[in-house]
């Protein structure tokens, strides 16, 4: 669990997760596009994310594709969010979304 929090503590790594959330299954090359980071830096961040099991890589032919893995975040949520809070949180989240869409 420490590895997950440590991995999430860095804005560049959260940015990479956002990119995979927007488009899953990207290569290192695709992830480097329009980023102010060197290939090596992106590769290092991906290794930290993989170490925390937040990113999973799959070999497909000559390509290595990266996938967002939300399972550890779900495990963390399960630890502190009980069955009663879930519905309230969902309602709040829906309300927030609804209000933001109205703007």
């Amino acid at each position: 669990m420490d590895a997950v929090f440590k991995a999430l503590a860095d804005p560049s790594r959260r940015d990479l997760l956002d990119r995979l959330y927007a488009k899953n299954g990207q290569t290192l090359g695709e992830l480097c596009e329009r980023l102010d980071m060197t290939r090596q830096a992106v590769s290092k961040h991906l290794a930290v994310l993989e170490g925390a099991n937040l990113v999973v890589s799959v070999r497909r032919g000559r390509e290595k594709l990266h996938y967002l893995n939300p399972v550890p975040i779900h495990d963390i949520a399960e630890r502190w969010i009980g069955k009663y809070e879930r519905h309230r949180l969902q309602a709040l989240s829906d309300l927030k979304k609804g209000l933001e869409e109205e703007q």
Binding site: V71, H74, E78
Partner: protein
């Protein structure tokens, strides 16, 4: 016609403090799936070409498929067709693979959902909402004897996207 090429669109990994045999049983035996897979019972003929069915608690077929790879206790790959929701049976089958890797004192379970067509994200959202819950619950069941119970409805955007995809 050539065989369709399946590209993974969703890949989830969970580490479970258990053995490959126990995780294999959890995936292939109804007494386990009933507890962590939204109450569904699995029926699987463990051979290539065998039938795979997920049945709801009231006996209806929810998912149906064929076994493509069966290598216990390592790999189970099945075609996956959702029968339990309107319009879904008109979609191309997807390929679901469970890969079990033994590590020291733990097991790495990888679930891959692969598709042979350019599937919209909205349709993927159902699996992306469901699988993390299913895998967390499976992990919890094996490690602690207790599954995680989460009630969930299929996302609206997914149902609309499926309707659109089959209507085209």
């Amino acid at each position: 016609m050539s065989e369709p090429v399946f590209k993974p669109n969703t890949v989830y990994v969970t580490y479970i403090a258990s053995t490959p045999d126990k995780v294999w049983d959890a995936i292939t035996k109804p007494e386990f799936t009933r507890q962590y897979f939204f109450g569904h019972s699995v029926e699987v003929e463990q051979r290539v070409g065998g039938r795979y069915v997920l049945r709801t608690a009231d006996g209806r077929v929810h998912v149906q498929g064929r076994v493509m790879v069966c290598d216990p206790p390592r790999t189970l790959s099945i075609t996956w067709l959702v029968e339990g929701l309107d319009d879904f049976r008109k979609l191309p089958e997807c390929l679901v693979t469970f890969q079990i890797d033994a590590l020291e004192g733990a097991v790495r379970l990888t679930m891959t959902e692969a598709h042979s067509w350019d599937i919209p994200d909205a349709i993927l959202s159902g699996g992306r909402q469901g699988w993390p819950v299913i895998l967390s619950s499976l992990k919890s069941l094996i490690e602690t004897g207790k599954p995680i119970i989460v009630k969930m409805a299929p996302p609206k955007e997914m149902l609309e996207a499926v309707k659109q995809a089959v209507g085209e």
